[in-house]
Amino acid sequence: MPQHILEDRELSIATGSDLTSEGKTIKCGQNSVSGSVSQRACVYCGARVVLNPITDAFHLVHGPIGCASYTWDIRGSLSSDSELFRQSFSTDLKEKDVIFGGVVKLKQAVDEIMARFNPPVVFIYSTCLVGVIGDDVDSVCRESERRYGARFINVKAPGFAGHKALGYKLACEALFELIKPFRDNPKVKGINILGDYNLAGEIWIIKNYFKEVGLKVLSVFTGDSSYESLIKAPTASLNVVQCAGSMTYLAKMMEESFNIPYVKASFFGLEDTASALMKTVDLLGDSKARQKAKSLVEREGRKTHEAVEKYLPLLKGKKAAIFVGGGFKAVSLVRQFKALGLETVLVGTQTGSAEDYELLGELAGPSAVILDDANPAELETFMRQKGADILVGGVKERPLAYKLGVAFCDHNHERKAPLAGFAGVENFAREITLSINSPVWALARASSFLD
């Protein structure tokens, strides 16, 4: 192992060939190593990012101010209607509340919320401190539902309870709780889309496709959703699961309890988008829709190929590094890079599974470096070692890439151009081409200007 790799971390780092031909497995799914400067966020974050896009929900962070302040409008989800979710609300607990408990303040906050905003659903996120002082938030929720008739859901998400993926699960449970009362409504022909958060309007693009082929999208979890739209979910005949890491759990619960089958799909990249549409129409067994989907895929495929062509010569042979949240997205990115002629030399995730990493090893090739829960020192070391030209990652990683003279792709919450669907293929190619081919890199790499 190179210098600056902690012993505790060695088993979480491998090469493609380690994982494929050598049959090794990567250590993953563990708590972060103390002092390693992990890039991961916490349980609360996981739950918040999944639930936040519900536009007319009131998201109340029960705890001191930090958690609310840092997650204000954290996901760049767009809304076609209410903007309530884009505000940051906190009970802003103080020393006094820590000593005497925060329940009184929480109850009064609920009264204020109902008087002023009257939302259909209130999510109360119980953060670290509440987990320790033991406020009975459940009973506040029960009491408030009785009084106000709106839904009050306690999302017990103390940061120390696990990592981000547990937050996803908690969010799924909250969503299930929300829609469960409507389980007995009769089924209609239509689908739910799970795991799209309408970043940069992506769900609108995807919904347009389904509209064109004649399929009704009943609910989206949770991009541009509202209470009214979510409670239609139990009547759907198929769940299309996109962000598998965050939403498979909900899909499974809906399969068991509502008898709704699910199919996993990805709307990133040309091939995956086409496959997602075809799979959906196939499973619904609608031959008219199938015909329309086929022509849509052909038409958009042709257009996309033409649009992307001009970028290919500028991308050929470039090397990509990937560090993202989940395995599903990493897999999708490796394939998108491959399709554009780039080689992936480093790929890591915050919450991937052993299987994800094995697959990543296969896709990225024997010499690629595979990392679970990497830290800045490792990213720096391996990006240098592998000579990466571009990094895809979260906003925290952006300045690191720039300091190393490496281009950056904002495939994260803050993106403002859609990267999903057919339209996303061109945007993705454009985004990475413009960054990789900027004149600034050559100037930065030039050694001395005085010679």
């Binding site: 497995t25 916490c42 101010i65 940051s88 999708s332």
Partner: protein, 946 residues
């Protein structure tokens, strides 16, 4: 779980009490859109000003990640902060083990000179004694390779502002001091930008002074690009320098609001006798002057450069003063900066209307208020100074004070967008612009830059709007030149025909809810859930022509367009009332709302009320009207017991009104255009005033029409509130085909909400209006039943699908793909949780179904199967179960198929293919092989990636 509303009177009352307060008062239990962050963030930022120092947060993992993201996007620098990553176990049994390991790892990774350990909410609440732990850590052998500073920074104990000073205080308290007298001065600052720290150093050097700056973030948070990136912050105040602070001549603490118990300067004075001078930040003319004068007294040489800089700032002040005078600013951020900004504004004649901080700082309010009272022109009018505030408070005060400029951190951008005010970003955090690290506020140069930014924002706004504004205000086309009624409030009152105004209370404050209105479902949210109402369609005619209304239907001001109701005569109306009353014992209100205009047929409406009053002395009456012909009958209506009145007022400006009202029929004459709009407005205002004086509760309905009265509705609310309306209701314009306004876009609920919020500042708004029909009965929410679509064409069964495809001709093969992602063939056959069953003819693939074969369970956290570390053993017979699940297929595609399953499959005539392709490609390839008779291959090379 019951979804019913509870309607006990006790709850009603407490609810009503809350409602009463909400509009113009602070949310007292919720911080809504915070103007502050937590203590650890401040501490970490300050520690970035120490040389070769790394921070570790003792707490759960998320805190460090959030803070890193927050800092990294503002400073555009990598920000590395370690965490002790406390887990559930640590939270219960204490985190010492985690902390020691974290320190070891951090030192190993970064080789820092200093490690600063700050605590979090979690560590503090579980009672971690970090000081004692660090002591134990430092006593371990071998001795740790770095100095360790520890401090207590619970998130609930203050904001980033206190966190910053807590860090500095810990530094001077814990770094061993050398009491050797030196000729240097200590300079301690509150949170300033890296560029300002650099300016400060440059200035001190130019003044030929020896100094120690604490902290010095100028390099570590604004580093130059270099081919050698070093992840450990390389510059900043060194331990050596810190240890010399005890021997300095004097400490200059550039923070008026640093709390005494956190002041590094006070600590140095009390423990080492170093003189302390506290100054404001050197921003603006006066405070920069004082700073330089102080330094001159300490022996600094003030060079010509600085004198010229000062002259240039003065020059800029003069150049800009007329623009500055147009400014009405809301300032927000950390207390030191806001105070300085207010002083800079004051000296430029730019009004400070709101000065707000999210922190709670001693004397902040007094000092800013003093400054504004003494030095701000009284022409600016009232101002408010807030501490412990959030952006909701800032917005409320800013709207009240009619500001036109925001100055502060980038979190004000949402407010700027919402209200259309320009925002000058001059403080942390800024996430939507670049250059947060390069902001310059200090000294004359920084003041010039700040002033220019503010003034230019005002100029841009003026430049882009003044042409349009002036045209709208003064230009009159020849059309309708006869008489333009200028109806501002004064005129309104004077023009009210023949009615002496009761009082001169035009500017009366916003009225509070009157308890009586509780009993009316349309006027109170709570009542709407418990009390029923009955609308009696007795008034078919109308006396105005709204351009969005089609007279075939009911009045669009009151009802959903497109709904017609049978008209009753007063006797029939009484009958209906009696029937409905029997059915709804909670019937509280009877109203007339059309289907036309209630007062276009006044005798019918009055007669209806008369008949009902005879049979029921308690029932409340309400009336909806456009107000044109209302005033003459108000006294009669009142005598009959009318208590609630709804007036539809779509505009209080005839120029806008004429685009909404096509005509009015008034005393047997039809008026159009401006004239019509003026008449109806004058009469509406008369009726409103009179109704209020008679003690009626008046609700103002405003139909919000895209591009017509959206901007104007605030004014409408303001005017109606001033005349005494109690409550407002912004309604959606539902475009009806065939009307002049039928092509307008239907505004979204969010847009309505936004307008409603704006109006609520003047007139409380209800938000539960259902735009009911003229013959509605029962609870408002009654008709909210969710009509579930009947099941359409069900899922076609698999057999039918197979038939469909087979009908296409050619042989089809059924193939099972193993996939976890649902996209790629990505699992071993033996790991399969679900099969994707495809049908293919070698040219095309079709997904038939998915088959779930995973046993219940899996990882309880993520729902993923437990495969970490090689996978849990599957139950016995699992492979047989898998084989059976695909027994109707001709082939299986998987990442790998083990020997045993392969032979079991083969025995059933099922071929196996190994690949990690997308499912579609893999199935296609496999089908090709089978159909061409090459099905026995199992090597993945035969399915090479295309």
């Amino acid at each position: 779980m019951s979804l019913e509303w509870v309607t006990s009177s006790k709850n009603l009352r407490s609810f009503e009490n809350k409602i009463k307060k909400y509009i113009m008062t602070k949310l007292s239990n919720i911080c809504a859109n915070p103007c502050k962050m937590c203590q650890p963030l401040g501490a970490i930022t300050a520690f970035y000003g120490l040389k070769k120092c790394m921070s570790l947060l003792h707490g759960s993992q998320g805190c460090s990640t959030y803070i890193r993201r927050h800092l990294a996007t503002h400073y555009n620098e990598p920000v590395d902060v370690a965490s002790s990553s406390l887990s559930e176990e640590g939270a219960v049994f204490g985190g010492e083990k985690n902390l020691f390991k974290g320190l070891d790892n951090l030192i190993k990774l970064y080789s820092p000179d200093i490690v600063a350990v700050s605590t979090t909410c979690l560590a503090e609440t579980i009672g971690e004694d970090v000081g004692a732990m660090i002591k134990r850590y430092l006593e371990r052998a071998p001795k740790p390779a770095a100095e360790v500073i520890s401090l207590s920074t619970p998130g609930y104990g203050g904001t980033q502002f206190e966190g910053w000073f807590r860090a500095l205080r810990a530094v001077v308290e814990q770094v061993p001091m050398k009491k050797v007298s030196l000729d240097s001065i200590n300079v301690v600052t509150g949170p300033i930008s890296p560029a300002d720290a650099r300016e400060l150093k440059k200035t001190l050097s130019a003044l030929k002074l020896n100094y120690i700056l604490l902290p010095d973030i100028s390099y570590n948070l604004d580093g130059p690009f270099s081919l050698e990136y070093n992840r450990l912050p390389q510059e900043g105040t060194s331990i050596e320098q810190i240890s010399q602070m005890a021997g300095a001549r004097v400490t200059l603490e550039l923070s008026p609001f640093c709390p005494d118990n956190l002041s590094p300067g006070l600590f140095l004075r009390d423990n080492y006798g170093v003189d302390l001078i506290r100054l404001n930040l050197p921003i603006g003319l006066r405070d920069t002057d004082i700073f330089l004068k102080t330094l001159k007294d300490l022996g600094a040489v003030i060079g010509d450069d600085i004198i010229q800089e000062r002259g240039r700032y003065l020059d800029a002040m003069l150049d800009s003063h007329k623009y500055s005078a147009q400014g009405r600013a809301a300032l927000f951020g950390e207390p030191d900066l806001v105070y300085s900004l207010s002083r800079l504004c004051v000296e430029n004649g730019l009004a400070t209307i709101v000065a707000a901080t999210g922190s709670i700082a001693k004397e902040f309010k007094e000092r800013v208020e003093n400054e504004l009272q003494q030095n701000q022109s009284p022409l600016a009018g009232p101002f408010s100074v807030l501490d412990g505030s959030d952006f909701t408070d800032i917005e409320r005060e800013a709207v009240k004070g009619e500001v036109n400029l925001l100055v502060g951190n980038g979190d004000g951008r949402r407010l700027a967008q919402k209200r259309g005010w320009p925002l000058v970003r001059c403080a942390f955090p800024i996430h939507d612009h670049v250059g947060g690290q390069r902001i310059k506020n200090l000294f004359y140069e920084g003041s010039i830059s700040l002033l220019d930014h503010m003034v230019n924002s005002l100029c841009s706004n003026l430049e882009s709007s003044f042409r349009k504004d002036l045209k709208n205000q003064y230009f009159r086309s020849n059309f309708g030149q006869d008489k333009v009624l200028e109806l501002d409030l004064e005129d309104l009152e004077n023009n009210i025909n023949g009615m002496a105004p009761a009082s001169k209370s035009i500017q009366r404050p916003i009225r509070e809810y009157v308890p009586k209105k509780l009993a009316h479902p349309c006027f109170s949210l709570e009542a709407s859930h418990s009390l029923a109402r009955l609308h009696l369609p007795v008034a078919p005619d109308c006396n105005i022509g709204c351009l969005y209304c089609l007279r075939r239907y009911d009045c669009a001001n009151e009802s959903r367009p497109g709904v017609t109701s049978a008209v009753l005569n007063p006797e029939e109306a009484l009958e209906r009332f009696l029937i409905v009353k029997k059915k709804f014992p909670n019937l509280s209100v009877v109203g007339v709302a059309g289907p036309g205009e209630a007062m276009a047929s006044p005798e019918k409406t009055l007669e209806t009320f008369r008949l009902i009053r005879k049979s029921d002395s308690d029932i409340l009456f309400c009336l909806s009207s456009n107000g044109l012909a209302l005033a003459p009958y108000l006294r009669d209506l009142k005598d009959l017991g009318l208590s609630h009145l709804t007036l539809t007022v779509n505009a209080v400006d005839p120029k806008i009104g004429q685009k909404i009202y096509g005509h009015v029929d008034y005393y047997s004459k039809r008026y159009r255009g401006l004239e019509a709009a003026s008449i109806i407005l004058a009469n509406q205002m008369t009726a409103l005033k009179m109704a209020v004086d008679l003690g009626l509760i008046v609700k103002i309905n405003t139909v919000l029409i895209e591009g017509l009265n959206e901007e104007h509705s605030e004014q409408t609310a303001k005017t109606c509130a001033a005349l005494g309306a109690s409550i407002g209701n912004i309604m959606q314009h539902i475009p009806v085909k065939g009307t002049l306004l039928g092509e307008k876009r239907k505004l979204s609920r969010a847009e309505l909400q936004k307008t409603s919020e704006k109006c609520a500042l003047y007139l409380p708004q209800i938000r539960h209006c259902r735009q009911c029909r003229a013959d509605a009965a029962g609870l408002l929410s009654d008709d909210r039943s969710i009509d579930f679509t009947k099941p359409e064409e069900g899922l076609m069964d698999i057999a039918a699908k197979v038939e469909n495809l087979a009908a296409g001709g050619g042989r089809q093969v059924k193939i099972a793909a193993v996939s976890k992602s649902g996209v790629l063939v990505d699992q071993h056959f033996g790991q399969a949780e679900r099969f994707y069953i495809y049908l293919s003819d070698g040219n095309e693939v079709r997904l038939l179904e998915t088959r779930n074969v995973a046993s219940a369970g899996g990882c309880s956290r993520c729902g993923k199967p437990d495969t970490i570390g090689g996978g849990e053993a599957r139950p016995k017979g699992f492979i047989d179960k898998l084989v059976k699940a695909v027994s109707d297929c001709e082939a299986v595609v998987a990442v790998r198929v083990g020997e045993s399953p392969q032979s079991k499959l083969a025995a059933l005539g099922i071929a196996s293919f190994a690949t990690y392709e997308s499912m579609e490609r893999a199935v296609l390839a496999a089908a090709g092989k089978i159909l061409t008779g090459k099905s026995q291959q199992t090597d993945s090379s035969n399915l090479a990636v295309g």
